[in-house]
Symmetry: C2
Subunit: 432 residues, 2 copies
Amino acid sequence: MTGNSLDPYVAHYAVRTQGMRASAIRALFAVASRPEVVSLAGGMPYLQSLPLDALAAEASRLIAEDGTVALQYGSGQGIPALREQICQIMALEGISAHPDDVVVTVGSQMALDLVTRIFCDPGDVVLAEAPSYVGALSVFSAYQAQVVHVAMDDHGLQPEALAAAIASAQDAGRAIKFLYTIPNFHNPAGVTLSLERRGVIAEMCRSAGIAIIEDNPYGLLGFDDGVNRAIRADDPDNVIYLGSFSKTFAPGLRVGWALAPHAVREKLVLANEATTLNPPVFNQMMISAYLSGFDWKSQIKAYRQTYAVRRDAMLAALEAHMPGGATWTVPDGGFYVWLTLPEGFDTTAMLPRAVSERVAYVPGTAFYADGFGTRQMRLSFCYPTPERITEGVRRLGVVLEREMDVMRTFGTTLQPGTRHALGASAPAPDTA
Amino acid sequence: MTGNSLDPYVAHYAVRTQGMRASAIRALFAVASRPEVVSLAGGMPYLQSLPLDALAAEASRLIAEDGTVALQYGSGQGIPALREQICQIMALEGISAHPDDVVVTVGSQMALDLVTRIFCDPGDVVLAEAPSYVGALSVFSAYQAQVVHVAMDDHGLQPEALAAAIASAQDAGRAIKFLYTIPNFHNPAGVTLSLERRGVIAEMCRSAGIAIIEDNPYGLLGFDDGVNRAIRADDPDNVIYLGSFSKTFAPGLRVGWALAPHAVREKLVLANEATTLNPPVFNQMMISAYLSGFDWKSQIKAYRQTYAVRRDAMLAALEAHMPGGATWTVPDGGFYVWLTLPEGFDTTAMLPRAVSERVAYVPGTAFYADGFGTRQMRLSFCYPTPERITEGVRRLGVVLEREMDVMRTFGTTLQPGTRHALGASAPAPDTA
């Protein structure tokens, strides 16, 4: 019950609906679209470098020559040609997989929804990094799962914190359904799980009977040329791997996938059919044509170089404009820097003042299910030009200066009582 | 628990997952794709009449000129231009609506999933016609809602049966969350809810505090030129209307929508974001361009004429080849005829023999949540040519002859005990 008497349906909603609330990211989309604001908020890839004319010709050919297939209903698992190509992409990360075990979905967001749907009853525990992807938290909330955050450091998820979280939940008699992790260039933390820890964590989860959801949209976007070996590569029976074309090609087509052990894959296909009948056929054929007819590896290399320059611009600007006591992560790839301000700051309360100063970010609390992240924020360097990033961080510095003036005069703006320990997991990441 | 010991996750699935099973339609997609089989099973529109070359040029222009928008993330509610055009389409059915209350989804299947997600807790009652759309039953099952079927006749849902079903569920202390209805050219029953009954049913639901989900993918596909007034047209506060471009344009783009009262619309947008972030932007722009740049009303007229000829072919073939005692509905639009065979037939058991005879259909039990429909089947006339329809029904007649031979020799193939009364609703439609 929301208490909103203007809503005649207020007594009719499902229990899960009571947890639905507008995310900080959502409210910021409107702000970010105003040209005078430097948005360091969104995770939009920089599509300007795509070969749009050649893609236009490909789309035209697909519809003219294969329109009665591309525009028709299709398979609930996805088209076979694309599933084969997806296996070739995953092979770059050491994964050996069969196209039969791949399910194409409307973005990897939908894959995460379907996985949670088939595993989670209300009250089940999901383990996730602290912080974790805001869109994943929305999914877990929709299925009334309880998120237990697990501490990270510069090398990603901490195995000892994971062990403690598992023991604590088990001691409390809770059913832990899976560990959700973003091992590479974490959203929002910017850190990467070390290869040593991958094996340790996989073994820990396997022996505890806890599946791993390995969400890897950024894996090919490392700033050196290497690609990290996936957790799934060495643990095919206990890992459900989620992939996406949204960061490496184009999010507007909404194509992602899940690779799952056979029994799970069957259920994912049924769930996919129950939600969308099938992912859009044209979109799948378009991506398949892109993968077979274009030099997509060079395109990804171009993306990587673009983002590396922007990461450098952001790190230099942070050095120049952040107050003493602020710390931030140094990502080796992906889209994000995670900024931790000194005690006393409240990034949610401060956001309207930042927008007035024409800079936007995502407050840290969006990335926690439990109210942490008050003095953190996510800064994205994927979309604005280096010059805009530099200017945006400069403006952020001005905002922080003013906040400190206020704090010196009136004391902290931090609201007490919002920080509390949860299970055995450490309260907040220390990823600086 | 499925008892499948080969599945290491068997103890880990959610309760809802236990109800997941492959639908009859799904198994038949593989069969229907073999060219020697006349498939009267699928609901695929006949896309051959689309102006593919012009659509190809439009897709090319979109990507070349607007690619950085079309291929980027977008709004979780859908693009404004398309939502305005959707309101113009609904105006044809007497609906007055604002684009703010429209939510674009990945097909109307996703809209139905989201509506069920925000309203239904496990055990809640959903009222639906007997029979009802198989894909809707999958959604209701996924959210562990209990479907109570309500009898239909040639004029659609029977108000007295609805009143009895409501009273019975209320007497039992059950929460009825909504009535799900397909008023026009029903899938699978082929019948249309009379205009007189629409007002009666709307008033009945309104006074009982039960929302109506009006699912209307076929509304513009009537074989005479008129368009039936939507239930939503006269009841804007208690009806959630679902629409689709899959039957009137192209299912491969997967674009549908929900029109909902404001408070519900807000929740639908949040749920849409949690499942897909946003519907594919390119797909929405493509449909918007089609609606503004093409003579889409003439295209729909061409579809209607095509389907009317096929409906006539099917009805003539049924007259010629069905055994005495078989009855069927006479649709005024849409894609489907609902066939009821004499006592003793089991259309599920018979299906493999029909496929051997190179004809496919969907067994009636797929359209019931409760085991009814044993001697019914859905026959689609949308996709095969009139000649193929005639041949397919002839083959079906051969199969039925053989079945009757078997029955005369060995008695009925009907399995007893599969028919039982459910609540106050009548057991099966008598829509012949």
